[in-house]
């Protein structure tokens, strides 16, 4: 009679304990990584290698996705704006939605899938083959040698990728709007320039993407560093990276939009 209730209570208790333990490990990881960050700047070689892995190899998906998002925005925006006879504002619709929201957010989501999952899997495998423990044996701090360069690379990469995404998107919208649907080229650009503000829109977009970069890399590195060192553990950690990063980025984006753009 009481057994199912007790079982349920025990499961809830276990979940809470596990969550608290994870929070504690996350905090310890954070405290360990923070002092390792400045030290790793002394070895830029490691950061450049990671920039290649995290940044250059993500270019393809970011550029293609940006172009197509811009083109879709161009098509959809045009069909709505044309009903109100203001198709000239197409540029503003495309540019503002890309620079403010879609650029940083979609870049972060793609980054989580392309680079974040790779970082987690790499660190997880390093842990399960005891490479990290081996480093510690040789008095090499894996946080400084392995984790911190990846952190810097991710944080540096994100705003650059987001800017490329937005720019390619605006050009994609231009190709569709001006090339295909016959919006005037001059008014496409002049409307954009008169409506998009440097401080309000561009800078806020960059701030967003830097913050998303920190969040995405941090989650990816923590999940890899913290994973259960088995094949299954690594696969679970990789999944958690993508899911948690996506949720964190989307939630954070709402909060930041509410704070930044007083609508």
């Amino acid at each position: 009679m009481m057994r199912p209730v007790l079982n349920l209570l025990a499961r809830i208790g276990q979940g809470v304990m596990e969550a608290l333990a994870r929070l504690g490990r996350w905090f310890v990881f954070m405290l360990g990584l923070l002092p390792a960050l400045p030290a790793s700047l002394l070895r830029p070689r490691l950061i450049v290698d990671q920039l290649y892995q995290v940044g250059v190899l993500s270019l393809q998906i970011i550029l293609v996705a940006g172009a197509f998002v811009g083109m879709v925005l161009g098509l959809q925006g045009y069909s709505i704006l044309a009903t109100y006879g203001s198709a000239e504002s197409l540029g503003v619709v495309v540019a503002l939605s890309l620079v403010r929201e879609l650029g940083p957010v979609l870049t972060a989501l793609l980054f989580a899938g392309r680079a974040g999952s790779a970082l987690t899997a790499e660190l997880g495998l390093m842990k399960s083959t005891e490479q990290l423990a081996g480093m510690e044996m040789m008095a090499v701090d894996p946080l400084k040698r392995v984790v911190a360069p990846r952190f810097w690379a991710g944080v540096l990469t994100m705003p650059l990728l987001a800017a490329l995404f937005s720019l390619v998107g605006v050009l994609g919208g231009y190709a569709i709007g001006v090339g295909l649907l016959g919006v005037d080229s001059g008014s496409y650009w002049s409307q954009i320039q008169s409506q998009v503000d440097f401080r309000e829109d561009i800078i806020n977009g960059v701030i967003k993407s830097v913050l998303f970069g920190v969040v995405a890399v941090w989650i990816a590195l923590f999940e890899g560093y913290d994973c259960v060192p088995t094949a299954e553990g690594v696969s679970r950690a990789t999944t958690r990276t993508v899911v948690n990063t996506s949720l964190a980025v989307l939630g954070l984006d709402f909060v930041m939009t509410a704070l930044m753009f007083n609508v």
Binding site: V48, V56, L59, A163, L167, Q193, S194
Partner: protein
């Protein structure tokens, strides 16, 4: 080899940021920051927003910087920053709120007066004309029509 790719990537990213700043945003058309601040009172500012342009003969000479309410006479007070190389406005200039196109954004149009003294920072433009609110216009028109009908 990798170094070249990383260099290319960072250069491309920075180039994209610069292009966004220069070509997509209004960084180049922003007032240089140095300018003078004048205010004007309106009965109704319609849909005027902060950062809306202030124009003279269609040329942008400044931007709206603040919009507030005068708590004594309940009129809207619009503060605008006018670029310092346009410190040519006679003190009896007037300001009006216009709409670009039928549904476009609203802006402030200045028309110069005839005095010799020019507007300085902190001055208030005395002559103003409020925004035309479409609903008021339509209701006035209907009212007039109804009044005409009564006469017949």
């Amino acid at each position: 080899m990798r170094d070249i790719w990383v260099g290319l990537f960072v250069a491309l990213g920075l180039l994209a940021l610069t292009l966004l700043a220069l070509h997509v945003s209004n960084l180049l058309s922003l007032p240089s920051g140095k300018g003078y601040f004048v205010t004007a009172e309106f009965d109704n500012i319609g849909g005027l927003k902060v950062r809306a342009p202030v124009k003279l003969s269609g040329v942008v000479v400044g931007r709206v910087e603040s919009i507030s309410i005068d708590s004594k006479n309940f009129r809207a007070v619009v503060g605008m920053n006018i670029e310092s190389n346009y410190s040519i406005f006679p003190i009896d200039s007037s300001a009006a709120i216009y709409t670009s196109g039928l549904l476009g954004e609203q802006y402030i149009g200045l028309s110069p007066g005839a005095e010799d003294a020019v507007l300085k920072s902190g001055d208030r433009i005395a002559l103003t004309q409020s925004a035309i609110v479409l609903e008021t216009l339509i209701s006035q028109f209907l009212f007039n029509k109804a009044a005409e009908g009564d006469k017949k």
